[in-house]
C-alpha cells in the first residue's frame, strides 16, 4: 500500500466520525470495574434516546487516572473535554441525557488538575484517544508516517544518527544510550538479525508497558519496524507477560491489521524492506526481564541469564546480532523521527533526555499513570500531581525501581527525577514504578517483602543470588520477629555487599538495593527491633576489597 492509499483510508475514516464522542476507557484497570458493560449500556442508551446520528461511543485505551476509574471522556460537546469519573453501568442513561444539557449526578473530573496539566505526553500521546483495536484510528493521528519517511527518505545510518542525537536512553531501567545500541547492532556482521521488544514488565508496582501495549499497540510495532530497518533485521519478537492477556490480544489484532495494510510483513510500503513480528508469551518469571534470560525464554528454554560479553548486540538470539529494547523505548521512536532528534534532546536534563512514564501508586490520593519530562522534582510528582498521602497520613518514602531499586525518604523529595540523581540516592530509575509509602508502612517489612520476592524469583543459576537472597531473607525474618541481634544486622550488611558484587545478572546485583537503601535512611527502624546480643559485640572483620567479580 502507498501513502496516498493510506491517506484516502484515513480521510474516509475521519469523515465517518460523529460530532460527539464518548471515549470509554477499556484498559485492564477500568475493565475490572465493568467498563465493557458501561460501553454496551452507553451504546444501547444512545440508540434509545435517538442520538445515533451525532453521538458515537468509542473504545479507547488508558487515560491514566486509574484510581478514579472507570473513566469516560466526552469530546465535541464544548471546547474543553469533559471527564466522568467512577462511572457505573447504571449511569449510562444520565450520561447520554447530559449531552443535551440534562442534569447528571455522575462525578465530573477536572481536566486542568495538576495530575493532567503537569504531564507531557509523548509515549502516551494517543492513550485514551485512539481505539487500540482499530488501525484507522492510529493512522488518523499520523501513525506509520514515520515508518514511511524512514523507508523512503532515510538511510539506515541516518536513522541511527537521529536516535543518537535525541539522547534517548533505554527505558527498561539501566538507561543505556539507545543510539549506541542500535549503532552496535547495525555494525555487527551477520546475515540474520533480530529485534526484540522486552514487554516482560515484572517489577511489582509498575504497569506503564501494559498500558502502552493495551492503549496504543501500533506505536510499539512502528517503533520496532523503524529499529529493524535501522539495524538491518527482518524478524522481530515481542515478549509479553502472560499476566497481561488483554495486551496480548490487542497486539495480535494490531499485527493482523498492520499486515493486512502492508505495514508489516513483506515489502512494506512497496519497498524491499521486510519485517515480521511474532508475539512470545512469558510464563511468569521475573528474571526474564533480564535480556539474556529473555532471549533464552524466546528460544523456548528455561529463562536463565548468561554472562556478558558477548552482548546480545553481537551474539543474541540463536547467536545472531539482536537488538533488545523496552516497550517504552520503542514507543518513543516515532515521535523522534517525526519531530527530530534535536527536538527530543531539548526535553529533560543534560544527561537524561525526553519524558518518562511512571506508575504512581501506593498510599497516595491520585493513583495512575503519568508522563513527565525528566528532571522534574519528585516533590512535584508526589505532592502536586499525586495530591500527597490520603487523609491522615504523611508521606514517608517513595520506592522507585521495584525490587532492584530503593526507598527515597521524604527528606529527599526535592531530588530531580533522572537516571543519575536516583542512582546517587541508592535507588534506580527502573522501569518506572513509583510506590508511595506513608508512616503506617514499616520499612523493614518492605525490605523483607522485596527480599522474599528476589529469593523466589532467583533463577538459581549462580550461588550468590540463589543462596545469598535466601540468607538475607531469613535474617530479615529473624529481625522482624524480634529475634535478631546486632550481629545479624552486621551479617546482613556484609551479605548486601557480597550478593551485589558477585551475582551473575542484574537480578542478583540489584537485589540488595531495597535493604541497603532502607538501612541507609531508616536504620533506626531496624535497630528498634534488635535484641541484646548474648555473646557481646561482634569482633570487627576487615572486609576484602569490593572489586566486582565476573563469573
Amino acid at each position: 500500500m502507498q501513502l496516498d492509499d493510506l491517506k484516502a483510508l484515513v480521510a474516509k475514516h475521519i469523515g465517518a466520525r460523529k460530532k460527539i464522542v464518548l471515549r470509554t476507557c477499556m484498559s485492564a484497570g477500568c475493565m475490572s470495574s465493568q467498563a465493557d458493560v458501561i460501553k454496551r449500556n452507553l451504546e444501547a442508551e444512545v440508540k434509545a434516546q435517538g442520538r445515533e446520528a451525532e453521538v458515537e461511543v468509542r473504545r479507547v485505551g488508558c487515560m491514566g487516572f486509574c484510581g478514579q476509574g472507570p473513566l469516560i471522556g466526552v469530546d465535541g460537546l464544548s471546547a474543553k473535554e469533559k471527564l466522568f469519573e467512577f462511572v457505573k453501568p447504571t449511569d449510562a442513561p444520565a450520561i447520554v441525557a447530559s449531552l443535551q444539557g440534562a442534569a447528571c449526578d455522575v462525578q465530573v473530573g477536572n481536566p486542568d488538575h495538576p495530575f493532567f496539566a503537569r504531564q507531557m505526553r509523548i509515549v502516551r500521546a494517543n492513550g485514551g484517544i485512539v481505539d487500540p483495536e482499530r488501525i484507522e484510528d492510529y493512522l488518523a493521528v499520523g501513525g506509520y508516517q514515520a515508518l514511511h519517511q524512514v523507508l523512503t527518505e532515510m538511510q539506515p545510518s541516518e536513522v541511527v544518527d537521529e536516535i543518537t542525537t535525541s539522547g534517548l536512553r533505554g527505558r527498561g531501567g539501566a538507561g543505556f544510550p539507545t543510539g549506541l545500541k542500535w549503532g552496535t547492532v547495525a555494525k555487527s556482521a551477520g546475515a540474520k538479525k533480530y529485534v526484540v521488544c522486552n514487554g516482560d514488565e515484572g517489577d511489582p508496582g509498575a504497569f506503564m508497558d501494559r498500558s502502552v501495549l493495551e492503549s496504543d499497540p501500533h506505536i510499539v510495532l512502528e517503533g520496532m519496524a523503524i529499529a529493524a530497518y535501522a539495524v538491518g533485521a527482518d524478524q522481530g519478537f515481542l515478549y509479553v507477560r502472560a499476566e497481561y492477556p488483554l495486551a496480548i490480544s490487542r497486539l495480535q489484532t494490531a499485527i493482523k491489521q498492520a499486515k493486512a495494510l502492508g505495514l508489516l510483513g513483506g515489502g512494506i510500503f512497496e519497498s524491499p524492506f521486510n519485517f515480521n513480528i511474532d508475539i512470545r508469551i512469558g510464563a511468569g518469571a521475573f528474571v526474564c526481564g533480564e535480556e539474556t534470560a529473555l532471549m533464552a525464554s524466546v528460544e523456548g528454554k528455561r529463562g536463565t541469564p548468561r554472562p556478558r560479553p558477548p552482548f546480545p548486540a553481537e551474539s543474541g538470539l540463536w547467536g545472531c546480532p539482536t537488538l533488545i529494547n523496552n516497550v517504552e523505548t520503542f514507543a518513543n521512536i516515532t515521535a523522534i523521527i517525526n519531530r527530530g532528534g534535536a527536538w527530543y534532546a531539548g526535553i529533560g536534563t543534560e544527561k537524561s533526555k525526553g519524558t518518562k512514564v511512571f506508575a504512581l501508586t501506593g498510599k497516595i490520593k491520585n493513583n495512575g499513570l503519568i508522563e513527565v519530562p525528566m528532571g522534574i522534582p519528585l516533590r512535584q510528582i508526589v505532592e502536586e500531581m499525586g495530591g500527597g498521602a490520603p487523609a491522615g497520613g504523611h508521606i514517608k518514602s517513595v520506592q522507585t525501581g521495584g525490587p532492584s531499586g530503593g526507598c527515597i525518604p521524604a527528606a529527599y523529595l526535592d531530588t530531580p527525577v533522572d537516571y543519575e540523581s536516583l542512582t546517587k540516592l541508592g535507588s534506580i530509575m527502573g522501569s518506572g514504578g513509583m510506590v508511595v509509602m506513608d508512616d503506617a508502612t514499616n520499612m523493614v517489612e518492605i525490605a523483607k517483602f522485596y527480599m522474599e520476592f528476589c529469593m523466589e524469583e532467583s533463577c538459581g543459576k549462580c550461588i550468590p543470588c540463589r543462596a545469598g537472597t535466601a540468607q538475607m531473607f531469613h535474617l530479615l525474618e529473624k529481625i522482624t520477629q524480634r529475634r535478631g541481634t546486632a550481629r545479624d544486622l552486621a551479617k546482613l550488611e556484609e551479605l548486601c555487599d557480597m550478593v551485589r558484587h558477585t551475582s551473575l545478572c542484574g537480578l542478583g546485583q540489584t537485589a540488595p538495593n531495597p535493604v541497603a537503601s532502607t538501612l541507609k535512611f531508616f536504620r533506626s527502624e531496624y535497630e528498634a527491633l534488635l535484641q541484646p546480643d548474648p555473646f557481646g559485640p561482634r569482633p570487627s572483620v576487615t572486609t576484602q576489597s569490593a572489586e566486582p567479580v565476573t563469573l
Binding site: 485492564a28 484497570g29 475493565m31 475490572s32 470495574s33 486509574c66 484510581g67 476509574g69 514488565e201 515484572g202 517489577d203 511489582p204 508496582g205 509498575a206 504497569f207 501494559r210 502472560a242 499476566e243 497481561y244 512470545r280 508469551i281 512469558g282 510464563a283 511468569g284 518469571a285 521475573f286 525464554s297 524466546v298 528460544e299 523456548g300 528454554k301 528455561r302 529463562g303 506508575a359 501508586t361 501506593g362 498510599k363 493513583n367 495512575g368 499513570l369 520506592q399 521495584g402 514504578g433 510506590v435 509509602m437 508502612t441 518492605i446 517483602f449 522485596y450 520476592f453 524469583e457 533463577c459
Partner: protein
Amino acid sequence: MLPLLTREKNADRVLRHASGDKRFKILEVHMKKHQFRQDALIEVLHKAQELFGFLEDDLLLFIAAKLKLPPSRVFGVATFYHFFTLKPQGEHTCVVCLGTACYVKGADKIMAAIQEKYRIKAGETTPDNQLSLLTARCIGACGIAPAVTFDGHVAPKLTPEATLEKLNTLI
C-alpha cells in the same frame, strides 16, 4: 516427579492418550501451527495448560515426543515458570496480587483472611476441591490496588471482608 518408564512403555502411554482424548488432537494441531519448532515449547505448554488445566506427566511426555525434545528439557521448562502448574486446580481459583502497590494497601491482610477461613496456604487447594488459592507477583492493576482475580476476573479495591464475601458467592 516423572515416573521412571522404559522407552517402550513410554511410547505406549503416549499413543493411548493421543488416540483417546480429543484434546491431544487439538494440542497437536497447535504444535503443527508452530511447525513443531522446539523454540515454541513455551507456547505449546500454554496451550496444553489451557486445554487440560494443569500439566500432567503424561502430557509433558507427549509434548516432548512431538517436539523431539528430551523429557528433561520439557519438565525443566514447565517447572521453571510460575505460570505452569503440575498439580490439578480446584473448581475455582482465587489469585491474590501481592505486588508492592497491593501489598502496602493491605493485600497481606486479604491473604491472611482467606488462609484463616479456608485453612489453605498459597498454592494449595481446599480438600473439597472447590477453591485454589494462588498469589501473583503483580498483575499490573496497581491503580486499583489491592486487586484479586476470581476465576480470571479482576476485582478492584478490595478489603478482607469484601474478598470473603466474593468467595462466598463464588463457591
